[in-house]
Subunit: 261 residues, 6 copies
């Protein structure tokens, strides 16, 4: 079977890392295709990024022209779009946020999530809640590291992860979840050091996607995830200026001309 | 003060209707500016539409070049994007979904929402939950009418609304909410016929936005709604083909080449 | 329009302070009338006071003989009576507890309440819960100051508020609420020092009351808030001795002749 | 031991019925003293009545001059005041609403409440929620009969109870609760006809009060139920006119001169 | 890898059916070993049966002497024991109740469970709640058929299932779960007739077990599922008489000599 | 009346202690009979022990041959089996876990449980949740002492209890519960030292059982607690080897031959 794994941002190196992680988890008969959105944020760190990413991922799947596939894995931890992709495609869709939580529930009474910036905690909490698996979540804890900082200094990342993990454990977590696709691979070393199972969402989602395909199950059309209605939709403005930090003439932080608080 | 009211879809007639409703509710010193996204769906009816709309609304506000404004009203009932706009702009942001619920909670012990298609119920439920006002929601009920059908036959719309309202009342609702920006104006006739208060989200959001501005309050930056980080973001693919129903050569319903269930 | 703002206790100085705060928030066309109950506690600090206050406020509104009014604001933070007043009067009723929470939900993902004595926390929690807005409340924290101590030493009040606010922030609050009508006015200085929005319930309730009146909305009679049934009711005992501390012949703390634990 | 059982209204016949029920449940060494408030509503049917009743019951206990007692039973189903009485007296306090629910939880997985008017349902739901026993409540159902109608036609009361009980059973109730002190005595006949246990709150509260006294337990002072602070309190207006239906010159339904909806 | 699939009752034909279902779902490299408890009930239909079964399943695994295994699947829908097995063995443990719910959450917003007797609904609800996946459960519905009746008349079973499924759908279910291991195999025909995905817990649990093993994950020892303490335990009374229906000299229904209600 | 009090383990000294505590709480007309299971764990400390204990307690009651009884008290704090015993016997059944929580809810707004080992916290939380009384539980805290250590060194037990109680109080508890039947008797000294009511589950359950009997109430058969169906059940394997620590030839800790993590 073939699984398309979508990155939620436009950074191709991160897609490659994610695909590597996905292939490490996939069964011998599973091919993994990585998909990088043609537009969107270079990393998703906050609500604005997340909504931009959701539309870009939907567009990437809508215009996908590669070989047929059997399932989609959405590799943005805490990012939006999950339910829209379920409407769009006819194959099972598994988001790494929910996937990690589903498996974590099988391994202990309470789980914790260790993520990047504190600002991402709210999105993750909401994503777990609407996915129906928040009940046993003891804590979502930030490491203070940005998405693109994770790979820069692996030792610092591991140290920050272990410190955040202790806080999650104090809050009652018996199992930990890597709260960013960019942390894939870290689970092995930290699990040993912590003496606790650590779940990587990318691997979890690949196995759940394989499971659904093997069982012949796919998204229900009877209710909320019916197919999108046929209608006129335009996917992005042709001439919209990009955001780019530090580029002359381009606003670094978009601020409208409203009242300043 | 000036309030920018964003439509969540690209249908300009609907923006005009919404602006008319907003002006009807606005105080004498409030100017209302309508904003129609330059891209996105012609109507938002489902998760895919909602995520597409969220990015388009963010882009419209990001590139907004009109007169300064003091608050934003998001006029998509149950649609995504609320938290992203809170990050983006420095002025108060009020979504019509939450606004209607906040006022409804002041008018009765339980409220009900009457919306368009049944498929939109899930989004509305999730939006109320994460906004923190779902506790007193007795039911979200669909009328079976699409967004663009509402204006076509007002008598049919009213009949369908009244029938759905009875179901909400049976579930315990003491107050009703118009579950679509396109229903604005209907509240007066149906309230009389039902003998119950009926809250229009557009009017509710305008009054809440005016209230926050008058009190000098705006979104907290201390936590989840910090400003977006400066980074490279691309807002839509330059050459992405639009979805258009019935147009030769364009897919009516986007289906990837995956497995068919 | 005219709004009647009811103090929950018999201390007229406090009514005047509250009216001053309400007038500061009210629009140019809004007249504010203060109403002090003719009986009840001199300050409400606990459940017994709160229930005594509720009946006294209802009696004050029942026997009100001033100019016609368009809305009622109940200015007892966490105090009882809200639903009874909704039954009694035909105009919108807004309680400052719920009002502050409704606006706070629009400004951040989680809010905190800073109140007077720790003993009041339970009432506030219950009031937010039944009003339907407790979901996003991160914490209710006491300052240790009594209601009538607040005005005595403004510097001490501010210091105590800031210390309690830190505890609320640690619990996840991104927005703060002044948890006593007697704190009105404090919001401006502490908001600046904390770098967070601070909501005063009196101002919030005035704006919500104005909003409901402007939209032509009032309490639903279809359900729990139907009009009181006509029946015989006696409002207070003619010859009941008051509680008064330190007065010879009057019990300071009412204790029946039951078993002492 | 002696238990004071307080009626929540001023109708002495109802106090006598309640005392009779309480004595039927009390152990051989328990004396039961009935207490009728000197003021308040003739029956409590709604929020206004409930808050008026709460203050009147507190006043009755505050000025109680009878023999010493060991516990208080509050015999108003769904009525307010419970927490205030816990502050006031040093002996255990049991409210018949919570008492019935506590015992019902021991008899089946879900319980239902059958009460008088539909308008009382909200108060009962809130009372169970804040008492901490709402989780297993399947439904609160009204019979449509007023408090003072219950005794008028026992056959009609039983028929209405059985019809409402069926609705509670359909909602999942395995145990029923008599939702009004005035129904005391009905439990035996309806339990047989329904084939389900039926709990009377008055009897339940007497047994729970006896249990607490026997175990030497009373209300915690460490937290929310600390003793009322010594302060000036006035219990009712000396010259307030009573409400009386049909009496010339007295308003049947109290309506202030505000806007009419 | 090898998975041990435990039947929760002593009926070997049912073990064989379950093993057949498990093998149908298992990957090519997975061996499935069935395990029938040496004692316990012939079918588990109620709380007493469930607790008896839990101890018997634990004993069967404790004294298991077959080939080494990599995971355990507990094939009693809604039955107890899950957490005890997690303490006992060092390999991943997946219960079919939670497994079906985890996969169902990926396929629709709300799922429903169709089970055997109505009396089993409570156990299933509690099992889903404590497993952390009850939030999206719309309904648990009984078919009225006993466990051992399921295989007797497949046409009747299918008819009863479809009727119960309609009730679950009316309650909001978009996905269905087979609520008994003895229904394994039914999912294919009913899914087609209902136009909804139907999840079989046995297949779901096998895939989740394979997933955990493949990812190198097993139960956390850091907290609630620490290893059982070494101590003296006796597993069943040597001379306890069995329950056997219709056997002379053996009580059909065990009733102690207490009060008869 | 006669109450059978079942120990959840096979340690007869502990049964005697529990019976002593039960007799101390029982009324003058109540006889207490202790019942020690003929098999099961010597102490219940974890999920495996708890499920083993549940079956053994059911078997003990099923084969009970003593004098007729009127109620059953289950004296295992946080242990399983409650619902099965409700199916089995025709008299009221009260578990000490729920009993303590029911009474604690009457004494303060939030209660805390102080138990033995931290590993037992999960079972207690689940037991309170499914009993319907978890809402007001502020914390479940472990002392670090095993069940059989409690009696060994009373001074150490008291010290550990007081330390854990402080943590519960910090979490908001206003009332404490002894979280193990083996702590019976401790409530008096610690209540004095803590200045808070402390509830012993054994005494609480005895009083609740007496209450139900006096009111003529017993378990509902209309729903989840219907009588067990007549069928073949075998209660324990005739030749199963016991677990015994340190005994040559017997495994100290039962571990199957699966994968070692």
């Amino acid at each position: 079977m073939r699984i398309v794994v979508t990155n939620c941002n436009t950074t191709r190196e991160m897609t490659e890392d994610i695909v590597r992680g996905a292939r490490g988890a996939a069964g011998p008969d599973t091919a993994v295709t990585g998909l990088t959105p043609a537009w969107g944020p270079e990393s998703a760190e906050g609500w604005l990024d997340s909504y931009l990413s959701a539309a870009a991922v939907l567009d990437a799947l809508r215009t996908y022209a590669g070989p047929p596939y059997d399932a989609v894995v959405l590799a943005g931890f805490g990012e939006h779009g999950r339910e829209g992709v379920r409407e769009l495609v006819d194959v099972p869709v598994v988001d790494i946020t929910e996937a990690a939580a589903h498996l974590a529930c099988l391994l202990g009474r309470r789980y914790g999530v260790v993520t990047t910036l504190d600002r991402s905690r709210g999105q993750i909490e909401d994503s777990l809640e609407t996915a129906g698996v928040a009940r046993n979540c003891a804590a979502v804890v930030g490491t203070g590291l940005g998405v693109l900082d994770l790979a820069a200094d692996p030792a610092r990342t591991e140290t920050a992860f272990l410190a955040a993990a202790e806080r999650a454990r104090d809050a009652g977590a018996e199992v930990l979840i890597l709260g960013c696709a960019g942390m894939t691979g870290l689970e092995r070393t930290v699990a040993r050091k912590l003496g606790m199972p650590v779940v990587d969402g990318v691997g979890a989602a690949v196995k759940l996607a394989e499971s659904l395909v093997a069982l012949g199950l796919t998204t229900s059309r009877a209710g909320g995830y019916a197919k999108p209605l046929p209608k006129h939709r335009v996917w992005g403005q042709r001439a919209a200026p990009p955001d780019a930090p530090g580029t002359p003439g381009v606003r670094e932080v978009p601020v409208p001309q409203g009242r300043q608080s």
